[in-house]
């Protein structure tokens, strides 16, 4: 506890000097791990008295799952996410999906590095936008009611 407090104060001081407004909650950090057919599905979330729960999926690939006001919603979200992973894993196409997902995440990082470290032409920006829009269009084209397999919750982005 003493070491945590010292580190907290140190980092708080450095971040404040950078102009940040630092708010620290007293809470607990929780990690939950599931084993589905040999694949690790894990999540991290925090519990505090401020009714703000940050849920993040850690594995098989990281993704912010959202900020919830109720801990019940966190459990509900994990339950749905886990069920969906079970479905995908049993479909036999999970490895392909993981590979594709990794590529997309890596591409996002590449894009960030490109914009952070280099001067990018307007034309290149346009080309990228077109390619990404094309991929999104292809994804949406595949959304057909008769091919849907999960009904407990509607998709959030499609």
């Amino acid at each position: 506890m003493k070491e945590i407090n010292v580190r907290e104060t140190m980092h708080e001081m450095m971040l404040k000097q950078m102009g940040g407004k630092v708010t620290c909650f007293l809470g607990k950090q929780c990690f939950v791990k599931f084993d589905v057919e040999g694949y690790e599905i894990s999540y991290a979330y925090n519990i505090n008295a401020k009714n703000k729960y940050f849920l993040q999926r850690v594995k098989p690939y990281p993704m912010i799952a959202g900020v919830f006001d109720d801990l019940k919603d966190v459990v509900n979200m994990i339950e749905i996410d886990l069920e969906q992973f079970k479905n995908v894993i049993t479909s036999g196409k999970f490895e392909k999906f993981l590979e594709l997902n990794k590529k997309i995440l890596d591409t996002a990082r590449n894009l960030e590095d490109l914009f952070f470290y280099y001067i990018v032409d307007e034309e290149m920006f346009e080309q990228m936008d077109n390619v990404i829009e094309d991929v999104r269009k292809r994804i949406k084209e595949n959304v057909k009611e008769d091919r849907r397999v999960y009904f407990k919750k509607d998709p959030e982005t499609l």
Binding site: K2, E3, T9, M10, M13, M14, K16, A49
Partner: protein, 424 residues
């Protein structure tokens, strides 16, 4: 010696060995000893409760609550940055200013709390100056133990001595602060001399310190105002507590309660920061030492010491000072002082000598002795542990090389002070 006395002494010694050996947590060791005494019915539940010194516990809890709330305002960070800027970012000046600041804070706050407030700021400043933080940290840890000696509330041994011997806040300041100031100034300047080669930095790095904004450290101005008012009232209360007829714990706990009431900070968040292991350590120790007193072991020991010193105040005082210092350098000074208090009281009752100077000898020896080794004081252990986690190792030998000579110097100064002004 009867069987009850032998068993009580055996439990006390076994507890002491467990605390010193650090095989198990010191609080668990003390609780174990107290529980054994209760289970084998050497003392009753009622006796055990009577032995607990609620003044000591109250001062500790009250001050921990107050500090925990003030800490949230960013006041200590503000002060440290301000001091570093007033020193123009010069490490040779910062080492002195931080040493003195730590000692002053430590005179009013617990030593461990003070050092925990100083370490983060010191690490950030050292990082900006691109120098090793160990010289600053060593000065701060020694200064925290020195500063804590000056007041009733600065160090747990003083809280215990003040409570059990009925010595007030003002008495501590009047009798101990002059010698503490001399020890502090000597220590800080000698330490600067020792570390002078490690404190050289380029001018442009000093400018990094000047760029720091002390005002950004203040997080809540309203809470800061409230906290400073309550803190000022608490300090005023400590100065006047004897006059007003209040125990120091009443002052500390009243301040803590008012601050909890007006701060609006969640109670749970504050209480979680209290050093509960320390509080339980005290409670268990009071039970064990109270038992020794109750069964007559302490008066037997007092008789032996009085027989040896023949009631000579100077000899007794110097033995207490030096023995406390050397033992406190290697042992936890809290159980030592808890045992010494009834012993000194017993010696006073038997020999009829004026024991007041002996309290000052005990306080100076037990508080300053902690600087002798890495394990001599809780502040040292905590500092070394945190520094190691931050990648700066301070070995037992490293600490001893600096701490032990500085401790001896402080005890020599204390000896001169006591011989000249108190022990006659």
């Amino acid at each position: 010696m009867n069987l009850v006395q032998i068993i009580s002494l055996a439990v006390f010694l076994a507890t002491f060995v467990l605390i010193v050996s650090e095989k198990i947590n010191r609080t668990v060791a003390a609780m174990l000893g107290a529980m054994v005494l209760l289970i084998i019915k050497i003392i009753s539940q009622e006796n055990a409760i009577e032995f607990i010194d609620y003044t000591t516990v109250g001062v500790l809890v009250g001050m921990m609550i107050i500090v925990s709330i003030i800490k949230r305002t960013g006041l200590f960070q503000y002060l440290a940055i301000k001091m570093a800027k007033l020193s123009k970012g010069d490490p040779m000046k910062i080492i002195i200013v931080f040493g003195i600041m730590t000692a002053i804070l430590s005179a009013f706050l617990d030593n461990v709390t003070t050092i925990l407030l100083m370490i983060p700021v010191t690490l950030v400043i050292s990082k900006l100056l691109k120098i090793n933080p160990i010289p600053f940290i060593m000065v701060e840890v020694l200064s925290s133990n020195i500063g804590g000696t000056a007041t009733l509330i600065g160090d747990p041994p003083n809280i215990m001595i003040g409570s059990e011997a009925g010595i007030g806040f003002l008495d501590f300041i009047v009798n101990l602060s002059p010698v503490v100031i001399i020890i502090l100034i000597s220590t800080v300047y000698i330490m600067r001399l020792i570390y002078k080669n490690d404190l050289k930095v380029e001018e442009k790095l000093k400018n990094e310190i000047m760029k720091l904004d002390e005002y950004s450290a203040i997080t809540d101005k309203v809470l800061l105002t409230k906290s400073l008012i309550v803190l000022a009232l608490v300090i005023l209360g400590f100065f006047m507590h004897e006059h007003l007829g209040y125990e120091s714990s009443t002052i500390a706990l009243s301040g803590a309660t008012i601050l909890l009431l007006i701060s609006g900070v969640e109670l749970d968040e504050i209480l979680v920061e209290i050093e509960w292991p320390t509080i339980f350590f005290f409670i268990a120790l009071f039970t064990i030492v109270g038992t020794l007193e109750e069964v007559g072991v302490i008066s037997m020991m007092a008789k032996i010491i009085v027989g040896f010193t023949k009631g000579n105040l100077l000899l007794t005082g110097l033995i207490i000072l030096w023995a406390s210092a050397i033992l406190s350098a290697f042992l936890d000074n809290i159980p030592f002082v808890a045992t010494m208090i009834p012993l000194i009281k017993g010696m006073g009752a038997m020999s009829g000598m004026n024991i007041m100077p002996l309290w000052w000898a005990l306080s100076l020896g037990a508080c300053l002795g902690g600087n002798g080794t890495l394990i001599g004081a809780s502040a040292n252990v905590v500092t070394v542990g945190i520094m190691e986690k931050e990648g700066y190792k301070i070995t037992f030998k490293d600490f001893l090389r600096i701490g032990f000579p500085m401790m001896i110097l402080s005890i020599v100064i204390s000896t001169i002070y006591l011989v000249l002004f108190k022990l006659h």
